[in-house]
Amino acid sequence: MHPAFAPARTFSETIGAPISFQAIGKRYGGVPALHEFSLDIAAGEFVTFLGPSGSGKTTALNILAGFIEPSAGDVLIDGVSITRLPTEKRNVGMVFQSYSLFPHMDVRDNVAFPLRMRGVPKAERHARAEQALAMVRLAGYGDRKPQELSGGQRQRVACARAVVFEPRVLLMDEPLGALDLKLREAMQDEIREVQRRIGCTVIYVTHDQGEALTMSDRIVVMNEGRIEQIGTPATIYDNPNNAFVAQFVGETNFLSAALARGRLSFAGVDAPAPARLPEGWRGRMALRPEHFTRVAAETGGAPTLSGQIGDIAFHGGSYRYVVETEKAGRVIVQEQRRHGSDGPVVGAPVTLKFSLERAAFLEG
């Protein structure tokens, strides 16, 4: 548990609601922004919509929030259609990238705002706002104005405001986009912790694949208004469905390959074909930078590529470097540093070993 949340909270337990997107479509003057978007999210699940800008991830979120009306399809929360419900009746919490705190109210009134809209008496809503502020480590900040807080503090106030009325669904639209790297990492932990405490269902929108991998129970990778893949972070990373997912999530080296008479040939290498591939398969192998191991010379068994080391970047616990291979072009390699062994040297010839078992095989 994060030390910040060690004191026992008095927040009453809430249980997240399941969400169902059913064939949602949205067009802007004939241009589809979202196409046949269908997704079932379990109660209490943390799901991330991951994609580049224009992928439809924010459109899907805004349809759920009620800011955008879908052209087709239906959205259900807890089995009840909310597509025709006005935004304020949907009872979802939301955190925005620009924080969207009300500058004319102090922090306490900002956090208490959803309670005020729900007719909670002043004394009670102030007490509950104070609890929510304590949960995000801002106890005693109630009298400040949002403008007097740092970016990280503002985002924590926005989180407190979004969960103070104990919504069953929490929407987060790139909430950490405006923060610097260190603060983002700390906030990622805090958001997960808050979600675990409250138990609400979270939909988190980001274009940052690292953030998606760290935080999510499941990731929905989106591109050009369509879902490319849905899966756990490990599934998305290890078994990308296609080249877009392989490239967008983590780093990937692609090698063209073909299977004939039980043998897989690529980059001048001829290896026994993995059992999962059909005879006559043709496509690309996706290999992560950490799938390669630098070896002294050609070894029996595992396939190898040889080449020359180019640029090297030092990453603290590891090296990341480029190898110009003779048969497969440029390959990116990540290598853990090991005590007592030599690191890579620019310009040195190198042989790389890898296992076909860890590779992803992509059509086309």
Binding site: A65, R90, P103, H104, F113, M117
Partner: protein
Amino acid sequence: MVAPLLVAPLLLLFAIFFVVPFIEIMRISFSGQGGALAGATWLMSSSLFAVIFVNTLKLALTVTLICLGLGYPAACFIAGQPASQRGIYLALVLLPFWTSVLVRTYTWALVLGREGLLNASLIWLGLADEPQRFMFTPLAVHLGMVQILLPVAILTLVGVMTELDPGLTRAARVLGASPWRAFWHVYLPMTKPGIVAAAMLLFILSLGFYITPALLGGPRHRTIANLIDLQVHQMNDWTSASAMALVLLATTIVAVVLLRWLVPDRNLHGGAR
């Protein structure tokens, strides 16, 4: 060392055309033929001044409120348009603004006169049997001044409204506010600096209105500005005219201070995001 030079021409102009005449007005009003307090005595004793002063204040206040009431929704509408189309609506607001006040006032005389457009329409529609009296009524003065000042209200308010983060209203909505409550609790308070700025401008401009009340209100609906003109040109009484000018200035200052006090400074500047 260059910075003071940049404002020097303005300061010179200001000194020649404002400070000097102002001192002159002070001097005249306190050193007339009847002694140092002649101006003040005239103000205190003139029932004409008292009536016209109160009427001018009332006129300025109602015109300000009507302009805000009509201008606010219009400004909301314009600020809510996509930026590409906002220009068209602003041009429509600016067009009358660029037209001479004199021309616009005479146009009202054409509309409101005995043989004017309004009377002709009323008779044609059968709503009136004979021409009604619109000219030289308070209605005519209010109509003319509101029409002239409305662009000022709209432009000031649009300026503040387009600066607002539209995400704030959306945040209020998703957190449980109906459209009306999102407006009342978030949008309206955030536009308060614009309302105050517009109110100040409108009130100060209305206080000094001269042409429109003179042409549309006639002698029975004079403002302080008309009375000053009367004292100078008909009565050749510079002392009372100067005294009234000072009262007008003092009223303006009181109005500004009062508004600042009602809406403290931090709200004026902390308003936009």
